[in-house]
């Protein structure tokens, strides 16, 4: 990770002709583009939907993990004898009972053990586990395990993690450097020398947590040498791959079944101690073992958003045209890698998307600390650097006397362009998004004309529609799908490895299957995310499924349609190319009187030829440049968005009330408008929480101070502003029917958008997230002091002096 690469943007962007289809003239779709009800809505409103923790198996027992109370300590001894004597305790395991092979989700840094061997590295690190006849006995057994520790000095401040005298967390990674990146595109120094104005700003991003409502749960069962794990997972495939690897099993002997999942947002992408420890406990006891994290354990396991220190330097012409950017970041990775290598690359890679500039340098150190590991949270590495850049850009605009919308329009990326770090952008409606956001928010009437305490801000964002490359190196396609039509043609089942964690992929993929087959959505059934019954798919991350899984599903649907029309042609004595099928009705293109139903043709097919099945798969074209880290951030397509928000600040208390947020998105063809806008609402909600309230905080010993949903301050229904979600027309040639992502993209502009609205309202910059009331209050106070106002200092007040 230590090499510097310099790449000429022009040579790294290969000549690129997209294999996709041109935009169809006739977009009269029968099933897609319509707000169909979610396929799982009824089971979810009636309580029938079974999540992993709802499953019971005969002879099932319960398991819990013992974790470290220290941020950094050497394990001197572990005595499990007292725990083993407790009635109802079936097994107690430590590192001696499990494989010592290191694992992790990022193959470049496998640095975790199932249980700690020599040292514990954060409060919550895994030390031992128990399996017992009930939950209550588990807690008794955990208390009875005696672990002797020698407490070691801990690294809690990421800015000092690389100091020569800092304690070393992983001996194999000196100076606590987990990931070091130096990328250089074009000539940034020359760009700065040609600039009329060069500015540097520094910002800090907060450590946040995905906080899905459903706690992580896994139930492991061994039968005849095969391990089955029911899990609340975002990716059955990665779980299968890493669990098989850890236990030396063929992948075919590990079956991962996703149940309904109560949200993930990135936190359920990688296997946890629950799967690894559960598998061992289940093998030792010969019984199904249900493992679960409680809410505090979820916070400790974490894998949420990194705390990031972001220094940005930008050179611009006097008119605001960006010439070059230098991003210099430090990330607090926590004790392990998780998906953090990708997070580190994403942090810099995604900064080149929304504005078009040629010269870019990105330096990053992701450091180890004795805190819980960070990973991928909605928007992955992108939202905080985007906050920093959008704030930085508003500082520049203010200095140059340019309207924030105008400086963005001037620099906005155009379609069919290539970024300096070699991302090929096909469709891109950045300009249209900015203009529409400006217009629907009433920017012109509001900017500079709002009453005192009110402000309006704008920011942009962009995100991948699926990571161009899987997390570990493999030539497997990204997605595959099968469709099986029932013998009598009255139903069709889609088999897909795509993973619905609430975002609605089961629904949109069934709509896409029905559209491609010429069938109805209402007759579709789905079997998804079970590694034994469904074809391979990498799962729910990087906003990949609508485009990638959708492409595989479309191909499978087209395959069914072709076979069906061949049979219908035989039945009607017509060449199949003269026939079409739509909403379950087959008709001759030149003679609407000639008809046959889907059911009739499908039934005849089964009688004469056997099962009517369609197959499809999707692999993206080779993407990206040749520099180190080039694959991270590549994608077949990118979404674009602009957000405007209006805020009201209480000048006395610093309280920020967000009144309205307008999100305008370029996300290609929409499959299900209702679900799409619901994704925007949810992304805005998370973005808003992270912007104003949410932060995982630690005490001086590295222990989480607020591991509850209340103290972490998850926003409630009373905290939310008015949200307005709208779209610009867009078509993406790389996506089936022209689709792109939406689910993560709408989180990305939010933090910067709020900061800029506060900046507009009060003229103060809050340079760290979250933009809390305290920080706004303190910034206002500093400003008053600077303005020569006599400011009351509460800390100097006699009531505070003991």
């Amino acid at each position: 990770m230590n090499q510097t690469t310099t790449t000429d943007p022009k040579s790294s962007a290969r000549a690129y002709t997209h294999p996709g289809l041109p935009e169809p003239a006739d977009k009269d779709y029968a099933v897609i583009g319509k707000s169909k009800p979610k396929i799982d809505a009824r089971v979810k409103v009636t309580g029938q939907a079974r999540y992993t923790a709802d499953l019971k198996f005969p002879n099932m027992i319960y398991g819990k993990i013992l974790t470290s109370p220290h941020a950094h300590a050497r394990i001197l001894s572990i005595d499990t004898s007292e725990a083993e004597k407790i009635p109802g305790v079936k097994a107690v395991i430590t590192h001696k009972d499990v494989p010592t092979l290191k694992y992790g989700i990022s193959p470049a840094r496998w640095d975790e053990n199932i249980f700690c061997i020599d040292t514990v590295k954060f409060v919550g690190d895994k030390v031992a586990a128990v399996a017992c006849i009930d939950e209550e006995t588990c807690y008794k057994a955990l208390k009875a395990i005696k672990v002797e520790y020698e407490v070691l000095p801990a690294v809690l401040d990421p800015l000092h993690a690389m100091d020569e005298d800092a304690p070393q967390i992983h001996p194999e990674y000196p100076l606590n450097k987990n990931t070091e990146i130096h990328q250089d595109f074009g000539d940034v120094d020359e760009a700065f020398s040609k600039a009329d104005y060069v500015r540097t700003d520094t910002f800090i991003g907060n450590r946040t947590y995905q906080a899905p409502l459903e706690p992580h749960t896994a139930t492991s069962i061994w039968q005849d040498g095969k391990l089955t794990v029911y899990s609340s997972t975002q990716s059955p495939h990665y779980f299968q791959y890493y669990i098989a690897r850890e236990f030396g099993l063929p992948m075919g002997d590990v079956r991962i079944i996703k149940t309904y999942v109560g949200g993930g947002f990135g936190g359920k992408l990688e296997p946890t101690g629950l799967e690894f420890a559960g598998a061992v406990l289940a093998r030792l006891t010969g019984r199904p073992v249900k493992m679960f994290y409680d809410r505090a354990e979820m916070f400790a396991h974490n894998r949420g958003r990194h705390r990031q220190y972001m220094k940005l330097t930008t050179g611009v012409k006097a008119n605001g045209r960006i010439l070059g950017v230098h991003a210099d970041f430090i990330m607090d990775g926590g004790a392990y890698t998780s998906l953090g290598i990708a997070s580190a690359y994403y942090a810099g890679a995604m900064l080149t998307l929304t504005y078009d500039f040629e010269n870019y340098r990105f330096d990053m150190n992701r450091v180890y600390t004795n805190l819980p590991a960070c990973g991928a949270q909605r928007g992955h590495g992108a939202p905080q650097p985007r906050y920093a850049f959008e704030a930085h850009l508003d500082n520049i605009a203010k200095e140059l006397g340019i309207d924030p919308v105008e400086i963005r329009l001037l620099n906005a990326r155009k379609p069919n362009t290539v970024t300096p770090n070699a991302f090929v952008v096909n469709s891109c409606e950045m300009v249209a998004c900015l203009e529409q956001a400006r217009d629907v928010s009433g920017w012109a009437e509001k900017k500079g004309k709002l009453p005192a305490g009110h402000g309006i801000g704008i920011a942009t964002g962009s995100f991948v529609s699926g990571a161009g490359y899987p997390i570990y190196r493999t030539d497997l396609p990204q997605s595959a799908a099968m469709i099986k039509v029932a013998e009598d043609g009255t139903a069709a089942t889609l088999y897909t490895g795509a993973t619905d964690i609430g975002q609605g992929s089961d629904t949109v993929l069934c709509q896409m299957a029905a559209e491609a087959m010429g069938y109805t959505y209402e007759q579709m059934k789905i079997v998804a995310a079970d590694t034994e019954t469904t074809p391979h798919d990498f799962g729910a991350y990087s906003s990949r499924q609508t485009l990638m899984s959708g492409a595989a599903v479309k191909e499978a649907g087209d395959d069914v349609k072709k076979q069906l029309l061949e049979m219908a042609g035989e039945m009607l004595n017509l060449p199949p190319e003269l026939l079409d099928v739509r909403s379950g009705k087959i008709s001759a293109k030149d003679n609407p009187e000639t008809t046959l139903t889907f059911e009739e043709a499908a039934r005849t097919f089964f009688v004469k030829k056997g099962p009517l099945m369609g197959r499809g798969s999707y692999a993206p074209p080779k993407l990206g440049g040749r520099h180190k880290g080039a694959p991270v951030g590549t994608s077949p397509a990118y979404s674009f968005a602009a957000q405007v928000s209006e805020v009201e600040i209480d000048e006395e208390t610093g309280e920020v009330a967000v009144l309205d947020v307008w999100d305008v998105h370029d996300c290609g063809q929409v499959i299900n408008p209702a679900l799409l806008h619901a994704q925007v609402h949810g992304a805005l909600y998370m973005g808003m929480g992270e912007s104003i309230w949410e932060e995982v905080r630690f005490d001086a010993n590295g222990k989480i101070q607020n591991p509850t949903l209340g103290e972490y301050r998850l926003p409630t229904a009373l905290d939310m502003p008015r949200m307005h979600s709208s779209l610009v027309p867009s078509y993406e040639p790389a996506g089936p029917w022209g689709v792109k992502e939406v689910g993560e993209g709408a989180t990305i502009p939010t933090m910067g958008c709020f900061r800029n609205a506060i900046f507009d309202a009060m003229g103060v910059s809050v340079n760290s997230l979250p933009l809390t009331q305290e920080k706004v209050w303190a910034a206002l106070r500093e400003k008053r002091k600077a303005d020569g106002e006599d400011v009351w200092d509460p800390m100097a007040c006699e009531c505070f002096i003991e």
Partner: protein
């Protein structure tokens, strides 16, 4: 209340309660939570556990018509009470208007908060059939949702109220 003791002298209590119209007489420990009685003993797993601290509201059930976090209620306290869980909201396979409205308004994503949301909303509409939007927001403010930003949930409750005579 009838009690029996196990070998260690830990007491068990026989309680009587009605759940979704059916009468049950389970034998429980003093520290058994209502949520665990419903999920583990009665197999009513529609009631979810999200925090076990009363923060998230996923375990909301109606206890004598009032919404409660069943993770904060001892099963003992439910003796003699009428409990409605999400499984008791649809009648004879007919969805309640709130359930219908949640579907029609795309108010469901992962679905983990949905049972609790519907029960809190049901309690609201029972005592206040035509609430204002702030009243709806206040009524569900004890139910966290991580997916929807509450936008479509609020809309669903207001729509269901509008459909009420």
């Amino acid at each position: 209340m009838q009690t029996i003791s196990d070998k260690q002298g830990v007491k068990r209590y026989l309680i009587n309660l009605t759940v979704n119209g059916d009468e049950y007489s389970p034998v429980i420990k003093g520290n058994t939570l209502l949520v665990n009685l419903l999920r583990d003993e009665l197999d009513l797993t529609g009631t979810k556990k999200g925090c076990e601290l009363g923060d998230c509201g996923s375990c909301t059930v109606l206890m004598d018509g009032k919404p409660v976090d069943s993770c904060l209620v001892l099963a003992l306290e439910a003796d003699g009470c009428e409990i409605i869980t999400i499984e008791g909201v649809a009648q004879h396979g007919e969805l309640d208007r709130l359930q219908r409205s949640f579907i029609d308004n795309a108010a469901i994503q992962c679905g983990y908060c949905t049972p609790g949301m519907i029960l809190s909303a049901k309690a609201l509409l029972t005592r206040n059939p035509h609430p204002t939007e702030p009243e709806v927001r206040a009524a569900i403010s004890g139910n966290l949702c991580r997916c929807t930003g509450y936008v479509n949930i609020v809309k669903a409750v207001l729509d269901a109220a509008e459909a009420t005579e």
